[in-house]
């Protein structure tokens, strides 16, 4: 009854093609956007910004990127960390070469550069699939990280290989660097994430998105009915890398401010967690990308909060528990709901539809 569809007639193609066809969804989404844009900026503090919201937004973007490639186009990739590093280092280099360029433009250009790199590393996908492709993309992860650590040009010959962001402003308010207020960095990321998510959602519903899914479901059949594998696979790599590159640029410029490629873009810090996000969230689902990112970002912090601040365990015991619980949850999740949190949400919707007599 809560999800009452009856009575909501679609009388035009436009309303039939709406992203949120149901009134309830529209209301829920508008409320969410209202809270995100008009309430959170006024109540945010630096802990919520740096520990939860900004990483959540950035990892959502990375998860959308990987979901496009893996969830929609079926090409497994373990190179997320490497591609994020491309975004970060492009931002750094452009920033130092063009000190007056607007940060938004720099970040989008970094995304385009990452897209170009993604196309190059996507070439093997024309010949290999599945696990073999995963190994090939793994190579890109190691190669890119090695490259940014090895060639001093990328980090402007700094002694330590660290790259540090300098202050950049949007409308006169700093959004990067240590002086940036919490609401500014948050809103900056939010605007990018919301805009790019809508773009992704519409791309997926377009001809391009449908050809990705055709390739994912059965590439030979897709080819026979006229979906060109070269163009489709490479476009998936390009667009996915664009999203991941933007995420990497934000991760460096807005979130951390100073990074070291070997540590910040390590396979264990980025590539696997982002893959877990889309698996836990739901492969081939926009909502899943967000739910997965929220889960992976907040779970360790939530567990730590619960165990250390409420129960009063020592920090190290809590950490050991956290690692164990994390592992257990992964296994339980894959057994109980292999389709991820997005599927749980659609089950919940189904139940709400039949409320108060769900079966």
């Amino acid at each position: 009854m809560i999800y009452k569809e009856t009575g909501q007639y679609k009388s035009s193609y436009k309303s039939d093609h709406a992203i949120f066809p149901l009134l309830q969804d529209k209301i829920a989404f508008s409320t969410l956007m209202f809270i995100a844009f008009l309430i959170i900026p006024f109540v945010i503090n630096s802990y919520w910004e740096k520990a939860i919201l900004v990483p959540f937004l950035i990892f959502s973007l990375a998860a959308i990127g990987l979901n496009i490639l893996t969830g929609y186009c079926g090409q497994v990739s373990l190179g997320t960390g490497g591609f994020m590093a491309v975004g970060a280092f492009s931002t750094y280099k452009i920033m130092t070469y063009f000190p007056d360029m607007n940060i938004m433009i720099i970040i989008l250009i970094s995304g385009l550069i990452t897209a170009a790199v993604g196309i190059i590393f996507g070439l093997p996908s024309l010949r290999i699939k599945g696990f073999y492709l995963a190994v090939a993309t793994l190579a890109s992860q190691f190669f890119l990280v090695w490259l940014f650590n090895k060639v001093p040009w990328f980090y402007n010959y700094s002694d330590t290989g660290q790259i540090t962001v300098s202050e950049r402003t949007m409308f006169g308010i700093p959004v990067t660097g240590a002086e940036a207020p919490s609401y500014a960095t948050y809103l900056f990321c939010l605007v990018l994430v919301v805009t790019l998510s809508f773009a992704a959602k519409n791309l997926i519903r377009s001809k391009m998105g449908r050809s990705w899914m055709a390739i994912r479901d059965m590439d030979i059949a897709a080819e026979i009915i006229g979906v060109p594998p070269l163009k489709t696979k490479l476009s998936a790599f390009a667009i996915s890398s664009f999203y991941i590159g933007v995420a990497g640029a934000l991760y460096f410029a807005v979130f951390l401010g100073a990074i070291e490629v070997t540590e910040s873009f390590d396979i264990m810090t980025i590539s696997f967690p982002v893959l877990f996000m889309i698996i836990i969230g739901g492969l081939g689902s926009m909502l899943g990308s967000f739910l997965g990112a929220a889960f992976v970002v907040t779970l360790p912090i939530g567990l730590k909060f619960l165990m250390v601040d409420i129960v009063g365990l020592s920090a190290v015991t809590a950490k050991h528990f956290e690692i164990t619980i994390w592992g257990l949850l992964m296994i339980v999740f894959l057994i109980v709901e292999p389709h991820g949190l997005a599927r749980l949400w659609s089950i919940a919707k189904e139940k709400l539809r039949r409320w108060p007599f769900p079966y």
């Binding site: 520990a51 002694d159 401010g257 070291e260 409420i310």
Partner: protein
């Protein structure tokens, strides 16, 4: 049904979370970023234990600092930068000082802490040029920096070669990160000055895999090997050096590569391995007696208490002592026991640990005296060489505390800090 349970569970957890109210803090807060898990835990645990035991001892013996109890909440970072940021944000309110115990996290905190007005004390690690107090107002890295360390190691090698190392080959085995790369520039400058050949051998995180590195050393046969390692990397390197029969007395580690945990796994093979240090090992000091009396004998030792008197435990004591001393100095300067983070910074800048003061604090002959000033946040720049005796299973100091090549180091510090000041648009202080 399931939904109902889920809802109940969610409501319960929301109530639990909102009922958590931050307690008002009247005490002095010294948040700790520790890593008792992960690849760096073997080094992180003894060091953290040293800190905690010292704080507990001060609370028990003196009733805190000037009557104010020390709070020392731990936050586990696992040596990860992102978690370090979370820990910092969580604890920065009213925090006196952060001791990140990781060069990566230190780099991360330098701009943030400067903006927030929180002191960061990276004892003998972190960004070397932070020794220039004119640029780095909130950052301290006394008593000695990596660049001092590199030049002290070279000085030791010079001494053992009668002052001439022209044409000799020195290899640097380093953790392939900001930490390990710190000494490279200094060593390059020194290699030009003294005419030795420098061989750079990076080891990737976490440092388990060093076969190729030591194969290269076996082939190239450098006369000396220096090491900038941490965590499991140290153990593997020392074991590998022993297995290729590299002469151990030609192998010198930085002060983070010279603890019991690093040499014990190599057994007798590690005999003669050298490392730099800026504090003495052992338990023959007044502070140890006090810790034994006020903390360990009451069964309140941090961890299992087994690290008492080890190199990194003692270094933890030293680090904690400097942090506590800074609070004492700040209380004296400002004439109040309830100091704010800004007052604490003034205290840290005016720390003067003379031989007499060290003795009063129970650290007689434990470390060389040093003092900070407005210009100098890097302390004395003194370090000594210690050598491992595998039969007695103990470290022996084999040299006096010595200075590095201050001409070279000071020039590099001035260069690097002015570059940073220009990038971040910082005006120099102390003029």
């Amino acid at each position: 049904m399931r939904i109902k349970q889920l809802l109940i569970g969610m409501t319960a957890s929301v109530i639990a979370v909102s009922s958590y109210v931050e307690m008002a803090i009247a005490d002095l807060k010294f948040p700790m970023l520790v890593y008792r898990t992960g690849a760096y835990a073997p080094n992180g645990i003894p060091n953290a234990d040293g800190f905690v035991d010292y704080y507990k001892m001060i609370n028990a013996r003196d009733g805190g600092i000037g009557g104010e109890k020390i709070l020392h909440p731990e936050c586990e970072t696992g040596y990860k930068t992102q978690v370090g940021v979370e820990c910092y944000e969580k604890n920065k309110k009213d925090a006196m000082v952060f001791q990140p115990m990781s060069t990566g996290i230190t780099y991360q905190l330098i701009p943030k802490a400067t903006a927030d007005g929180v002191t960061v004390y990276s004892t003998g690690y972190g960004r070397t040029s932070a020794a220039n107090g004119k640029v780095f107002k909130w950052i301290f890295n006394a008593p000695v920096t990596y660049w001092d360390g590199a030049s002290i190691a070279v000085r030791h090698i010079l001494k053992n070669n009668l002052g001439n190392i022209r044409g000799k080959k020195i290899a640097l085995v380093y953790h392939n990160s900001a930490y390990g790369k710190e000494p490279i520039r200094t060593l390059e400058t020194l290699s030009k000055k003294h005419g030795f050949k420098l061989m750079l051998l990076p080891v990737d995180h976490p440092g388990q895999e060093q076969k190729a590195t030591w194969l290269k050393i076996r082939k190239a046969r450098p006369d000396n090997v220096l090491m900038w390692g941490w965590g499991v990397m140290n153990q593997v390197a020392i074991k590998s050096a022993a297995s290729i029969k590299f002469p151990m007395d030609k192998f010198i580690g930085i002060w983070w590569s010279g603890s019991e945990n690093d040499v014990l796994p190599a057994g007798k093979g590690a005999d003669g391995y050298k490392s730099l240090t800026f504090n003495a090992p052992g338990t023959d000091y007044q502070v140890h007696a006090d810790i034994k009396k006020y903390v360990h004998d009451k069964g309140q030792a941090s961890g299992d208490g087994s690290h008492f008197g080890t190199v990194l435990y003692n270094r933890g004591l030293f680090q904690a002592m400097v942090q506590v001393e800074a609070a004492t100095v700040a209380q004296k300067i400002h004439g109040t026991s309830k100091i704010t983070p800004a007052m604490y910074r003034d205290g840290m800048e005016n720390v003067n640990l003379s031989a007499k003061r060290l003795e009063e604090l129970g650290f007689k002959d434990f470390a060389p005296p040093f003092k900070n000033s407005c210009e100098n946040h890097g302390g004395s720049g003194l370090a000594a060489v210690q050598q491992w005796d595998a039969n007695a299973k103990k470290w022996n100091m084999i040299t006096e505390y010595m200075y590095g090549d201050s001409d070279v180091v000071q020039k590099l510090i001035a260069e690097d800090s002015s570059k940073y000041a220009a990038e971040q648009k910082i005006a120099e202080r102390c003029n």
